[in-house]
Subunit: 456 residues, 2 copies
Amino acid sequence: MAQKPSIPKGTRDFSPEEVARRNYIFDKIKTEFKKFGFQPIETPSFENSSTLMGKYGDEGDRLIFKILNSGDFLKKADKNALQEMDSPKLTPSISEKALRYDLTVPFARYVVQHQNEIEFPFKRYQIQPVWRADRPQKGRFREFFQCDADVVGSDSLWQEVEFIQLYDSVFSSLGLDGVTIKINNRKVLSGFAEMIGESDKLIDFTVALDKLDKIGKDGVVKEMREKGISEEAIDKIQPIFGLNGDFAAKIEGLKNILSASEIGKKGIAELEFIQKAIEEMPLKTAKPDLEVTLARGLNYYTGAIFEVAAPENVKMGSIGGGGRYDDLTGIFGLKNMSGIGISFGLDRIYMVLEELDLFPETVTAGTKVLFINFGEKEAFYAMKAVRELRKEGIVAELYPEDTKMGKQMKHADKRNIPYVVLAGDEEMKAQKFTLKHMKSGEQNAIDLRALIEKLK
Amino acid sequence: MAQKPSIPKGTRDFSPEEVARRNYIFDKIKTEFKKFGFQPIETPSFENSSTLMGKYGDEGDRLIFKILNSGDFLKKADKNALQEMDSPKLTPSISEKALRYDLTVPFARYVVQHQNEIEFPFKRYQIQPVWRADRPQKGRFREFFQCDADVVGSDSLWQEVEFIQLYDSVFSSLGLDGVTIKINNRKVLSGFAEMIGESDKLIDFTVALDKLDKIGKDGVVKEMREKGISEEAIDKIQPIFGLNGDFAAKIEGLKNILSASEIGKKGIAELEFIQKAIEEMPLKTAKPDLEVTLARGLNYYTGAIFEVAAPENVKMGSIGGGGRYDDLTGIFGLKNMSGIGISFGLDRIYMVLEELDLFPETVTAGTKVLFINFGEKEAFYAMKAVRELRKEGIVAELYPEDTKMGKQMKHADKRNIPYVVLAGDEEMKAQKFTLKHMKSGEQNAIDLRALIEKLK
């Protein structure tokens, strides 16, 4: 046992400071979720494999962590698969459960399973870990928290408006001012494809368009050509690259481009409603922007598409995203249930807050005062005071052993405890406590009442 | 897809009300943990199998959920085990990771792995789910939260005192008055075994003794006989059954019984310190009791043993337990690190609070006011007010669709939303809002300021 123990790659231990900072973010998000009328649910960490498999594409299926059946699992194993040494074929016969891959599919399952208990529209939030057998790399983990809010059972565009306001409220409350909320609409993308006569190449078209930020206009055009999109079509989309100005101005530009597309005009009408609502009810600190190239998992979204970018001075991918999907629960047999939702990228938000030094110092504050232990008699005297302080909500501790004072002071120092109390014979006689401020070294003998007042 | 989806047996979905009640308990516990100077850590849901296997006995090894290796796992599979169709033998070659079985072993691993960053004594708390492939039954689940607080690196008996105070503080703050904190000491049990000349049968002896509550004195004696404990020894232990009175009185009784046992006297001295501390600093609502038959996983504990029983009017097993274990981290190569800890049984505490109706009504309170949607113009008017209410921390919503008023009112009713606001043409002209109390039917037209005041 000489080797130090370790944890699986792609997983993390969180120290007290990290847990405190993560909880700070969770708490801010939860507070806003609740204010907007969202209610929390929780689902099991593992689901029946049949619930998860086939919902995320082949790549997703591969990345789902499977749980080995308990007991003599080989008894029910697929004999042919064993003979052929075919791992994927063997898997379903030796593994019936799998770890949650995201929160959306379990939520859809929850809605269908509990449809008779749920009052629709149902606004739920969910903050739980998910697991993916991805190759671990910087900022990508095999276990990480997702943080989602969704509404099911409402087609109203007010939902879109509310989610934009919710993003704004959360990031504002975290002090993360100046995020950009990029907004697009799947119907606008469909309109583009229709207009250029390439509706059958909608996905290739939007995948290429989505890369505008990364590879520039020339790169996008090149990729479109490679995907077999005609020169004529590429000519026709030139105006897309020329859209500029604010949200309202871009909508006007879009109207010209999409004047001949019914679906495109529908998308524009939705964007106009959103734009009008934001204009009449301005956001606190976030900047809304119409980004017609934004696609994000196109096959999934059917209406609004959202993505949040960190403030411009921070280099970081998106810190949130979401959109409307018209058929969330169809995969489990409940049809015509429109959904819309957003998620927050906890790990990236953490990194951004750290980079911008936006975590309040109080977040990681622990013990406020350590009572030095001079022996049993003194310890009893101290513990009685500790008890009174705790009753007042002050985090107080007695050093458990009556070791050398230097060691005890060092302990307070290492733990960043701002105050120590020294109380020996003299103090006990006078019913006082010598309170010492660690940084300044300043100290005063005061009574319990004053001690409480001082530390509160 | 006609069949409704389901979840694996032994797992649970938690509804908004259940999550709120569970979080209420967690928050109360965390608040006290923090007040006592404990800091939170979190560890990954899965550990390397080598970290967990062999730490919980054969039964535990079987109950640990193993994660199937990703990709072509059969490639590295143990060929002999396959040939022999030996599942347990095959497992290590196709599964390298396993789900956390408790929080104690991961904590020990954490302490050893991070020993250079940790300032000892280290007081940590941890509230995370664990997984066990147990046969599900009433009140026993395959996924459940554990809620632990431990200190490592201190032999001081003040830790014992603090944990008793902590139990008292948590249960008092939950309004669960009158729990019994049963206290014992492993050294006392060793003293009994020594005294009756059956030290080699310590485990059989204490396992039998631990059943006194369930099978009575005659049952205990019968089981001891069956385990080969001599008649002479059984005669000698009779005084144990006769111990009564309060904590202090029982200690006096013990002194007579264990006068000839060195280890027993050590245990008594520890109990005396605890008794004295509680006497000088009385608990708020919990009742401490010396229960010399209490054993709880004897092989594990080396000093104090704790168990908490619900108030007498509730039929429920223990709602918490813990104790001192002198060598927590030895399994990972770090010797001489004494630990002591307690845990809270969340699911049982939940059931007790429910049975005694101790959850405050406010815990599950959600949306306070629903604005009825009369159309786009009115909805804009309403949403602006909703925004102002939310700024004041009031949970307010606009019904997203302008459907029939009856349907909207029914929605408010089903969701237990106490107020609705009706604001049509007239109200808009007068810049008012008609606030209606759902239960009484009372309604008034008031301005925004008054609306905020009323709902705050």
